[in-house]
């Protein structure tokens, strides 16, 4: 019982609510449970909550709207748990500010792993507002000097590769959607052309990964986006 964080479960299905709260309590988290979107917003506004597990198919408001409303005033970590399996909806929720997205059915081990990542994220955000060097495994990026090191050796990146690298490493552990990478790197008018991004990514991977078929640092979330590992 080492964890003391409070997690709010927003879910209307009794069985799912039950097993999520059981495995969370098992891990030492404190659980609060609500079954509607409006009560979720109320609880987050008035009580101490460290993380939200949010189902999208709620009886009163759509979960997507709950994310939108929450993000107007809160940066509380949100993990979406949904029966909707379309990539479009996944990317939409992530772009709106959800930290992670799990498609039902999922295992509690998976959920717990995602919760740990989101919690670390939040703590990192709180402790250091701006880091000048970020280290992930043998990879480090010095934002002041604009230097990237891999296993102690400096590697040379093109300006675009550097932008892609810093975007991913600042959001490490989190999926950055294809649309938001394109928007960040090429500007909002560029549309949905993924070809340029795929080529850029291949170039970057050839500089930092030893085996592109088994990447160590940048993982692909097919149909959704990319995720930099945490360590």
């Amino acid at each position: 019982m080492t964890n003391k964080e409070t997690i709010l479960i927003v879910e209307d299905d009794f069985q799912i609510r039950n097993f999520i709260s059981y495995s969370l309590k098992n891990e030492g988290y404190i659980c609060k449970i609500v079954s509607t979107g409006s009560r979720a917003i109320n609880t987050i506004a008035n009580e101490t909550v460290d993380l939200v597990i949010l189902d999208l198919g709620l009886p009163d408001i759509d979960g997507i709207d709950v994310i939108r409303m929450l993000r107007e005033w809160s940066d509380i970590p949100i993990i979406v748990v949904s029966a909707r399996d379309q990539d479009r909806e996944k990317a939409y929720a992530l772009d709106l500010g959800a930290d992670d997205y799990l498609t039902k059915p999922f295992s509690s081990t998976e959920l717990l792993a995602r919760i740990r990542v989101a919690m670390r994220h939040m703590k990192r955000r709180e402790s250091v507002k701006k880091q000048s060097v970020i280290q992930v495994g043998g990879l480090s990026v010095d934002f002041e000097k604009r230097i990237v090191n891999l296993d102690g050796n400096e590697i040379h990146l093109t300006p675009m590769e550097y932008s892609l690298m810093s975007l991913l490493i600042k959001n490490r552990g989190k999926v950055v959607t294809t649309a938001s990478v394109i928007k960040e790197l090429w500007g909002p008018g560029y549309g949905q052309d993924t070809q340029a991004l795929r080529t850029l990514m291949a170039g970057l991977r050839r500089k930092i990964e030893t085996n592109p078929a088994k990447p160590r640092y940048i993982m692909t979330e097919i149909g959704v986006g990319y995720r930099m590992v945490e360590e």
């Binding site: 299905d13 069985q15 799912i16 039950n18 097993f19 999520i20 059981y22 495995s23 098992n26 198919g57 029966a83 909707r84 399996d85 990539d87 498609t103 039902k104 059915p105 999922f106 295992s107 509690s108 993924t194 070809q195 795929r198 080529t199 990514m201 291949a202 170039g203 991977r205 592109p212 078929a213 088994k214 990447p215 993982m219 692909t220 097919i222 149909g223």
Partner: protein, 506 residues
């Protein structure tokens, strides 16, 4: 079906020609003799004859006949009024001049009046044709069905061209059975759907008509589909005057536009129907997907919970683990069925984007390692970047299905490999194993839905045989090919090729 047609009107005209000439010449002779009796000069008499020539050519239709009469008038002037009288001889030179001028003037007058008359009649004819065309397009634009349009068009064209018309057409694009409508000019009869050519396609009928010969035909297309053919008997078609030919062309154009309009309405309706069906289907899929996922989550989660509460040597631990295993199987079956249903309308659901092969392979390798803990997978992919337009999620599923299949037919020591190589205009993916291989009798049916190898009972679990059927649908929807074979030295090999170029496939 076509009968000969003679113009009845021509007899009246020639009869009129016969008596008009002599009548006017006699009148002129009568007036001339009166002039002569009161001693007026011959030139006045000549003028009276010229007047007669003008009158004749005004009332005569035929060019040649009026020229003949103008000679006749000159000759009777010569016969009655120039010396020597009552003879066709001339003894005075001045008469020669008078007669020559008279002939010339009467010829010119004849020609001019005839020309004016021709252009008047052409103008009248044009006006009449335009009126008929106007009536046709008016009636046709009010017509609602193909049958009605064809009926009006055939009747109007027959009246315009004054010929027999046969029209072969299809009334329903989706059911290309030929119908006919004809118009027989001299009996003014319309025959709709003559029963002879039932159950014949338009193409067959057209071939038959062409073989018969002696018809001229005009084809009408809508949306590049042959919709109707208009036939006119050859001997009537070559007799068509320029004006009528032109009117016929306008009428054909009218007909074609009218058919286009009806067809567009029909297509619009059909599209709407299809959209409706599509909406229904995707909401059904969504509902099924949602309604199955939620209870599966509950079953799997609750079983995990039971496992967590039970010591591992307790029998209940084992039972809960089996529940999870079954639920996972149900889950993968559900995913497969959903994908298969979606693929039925591949054009709508396939979300092809340029994707890097290495990313797809990386995801497949990651999932494989999660599924088959401890199993080795040999991976070979091109070192350079290969980008192919694919629906990445579906290709990942194809590879996972093939690898699952390989896992099922190998033991933990036997090698499984995944190879990608670039070919001339495609990328080949190969999943090979050193397992039991494929039975020769199963080989032709291996990609069929619900086919499981013969030595298993049909309801044997985990042999639903959907996995390979999905592989085939996905690859086909991408415009590629999938094949299975046994390897030399044992084991099976599945490979598929995806085209590098993005084209539309059905």
């Amino acid at each position: 079906m076509f009968t000969k047609n003679k113009r009845n009107g021509s007899y009246n005209i020639s009869r009129q020609n016969l008596y008009i000439g002599p009548l006017f010449i006699a009148l002129a002779t009568l007036v001339g003799s009166i002039f002569e009796s009161i001693n007026l000069p011959e030139t006045n008499i000549a003028i009276v004859y010229l007047l007669a020539v003008v009158a004749i050519s005004l009332f005569t239709q035929s060019y040649i006949i009026s020229i003949l009469y103008s000679f006749g008038a000159t000759l009777s002037f010569n016969y009655f009024f120039t010396a020597p009288y009552k003879a066709f001889e001339i003894d005075n030179v001045s008469y020669v001049i008078t007669i020559t001028i008279m002939v010339t003037v009467s010829l010119i007058i004849t020609m001019m009046t005839q020309r004016i008359k021709t252009s008047v009649s052409v103008a009248n004819q044009r006006a009449e044709e335009n009126r008929k065309l106007y009536v046709m397009s008016n009636r046709i634009s009010g017509a609602a069905s193909v049958e009605e349009i064809i009926d009006i068009a055939v009747q109007s064209m027959g009246q315009l061209t004054e010929t027999n018309i046969l029209c072969a057409y299809i009334s329903d694009i989706s059911q290309p059975i030929c119908h006919t409508a004809q118009y027989i000019f001299n009996s003014k009869v319309r025959v709709i759907d003559s029963p002879v050519e039932k159950e014949m396609s338009l193409k067959q009928l057209d071939d038959y008509m062409v073989e018969l010969g002696n018809v001229r035909s005009w084809k009408i297309f809508t949306d590049e589909i042959l919709f109707a053919v208009i036939y006119i008997p050859h001997e009537q078609a070559i007799m068509l005057e320029e004006g009528k030919r032109r009117a016929l062309m306008v009428a054909l154009e009218n007909l074609s536009l009218a058919i286009d309009r009806v067809y567009a309405v029909y297509k619009h309706g059909k599209l709407q129907q299809e959209n409706e069906r599509e909406r229904y289907r995707s909401s059904l899929l969504r509902a099924i997907s949602h309604d199955l996922r939620t209870p599966l989550t509950g079953i799997m989660g609750t079983s995990e919970m039971i496992m967590g509460m039970t010591p591992t040597d307790d029998m209940r631990y084992e039972l809960a683990a089996e529940i999870i295993e079954d639920a996972e199987w149900l889950h993968s079956l559900m995913e497969n069925i959903l994908n298969l249903t979606r693929l039925e309308d591949s054009r709508r659901y396939l979300k092809k984007q340029p994707e890097a092969i290495e990313e797809i392979i990386a995801v497949v390798v990651e999932r494989f390692e999660k599924r088959a803990k401890g199993r080795e997978l040999t991976v070979n992919i091109p070192t350079e970047l290969v980008i192919v337009p694919v629906d990445a999620k579906l290709i990942v599923q194809v590879l996972i299905n093939l690898l699952d299949n390989a896992l099922k037919h190998t033991d933990s020591t036997q090698e499984i490999s995944l190879t990608v190589d670039k070919q001339e205009n495609g990328v080949r993916f190969t999943v090979a194993d050193r397992g039991t291989g494929i039975n020769a009798e199963d080989l032709p049916y291996i990609f069929q839905m619900y086919y499981t190898s013969g030595n298993q009972s049909a309801d044997a679990k985990k042999g639903m045989g959907l996995g390979l059927a999905i592989c085939k649908s996905v690859v086909k929807a991408h415009g590629g090919n999938i094949s299975a074979a046994n390897r030399e030295g044992g084991g099976a090999e599945f490979s598929f090729v995806l085209p590098m170029e993005d084209t539309n496939y059905d």
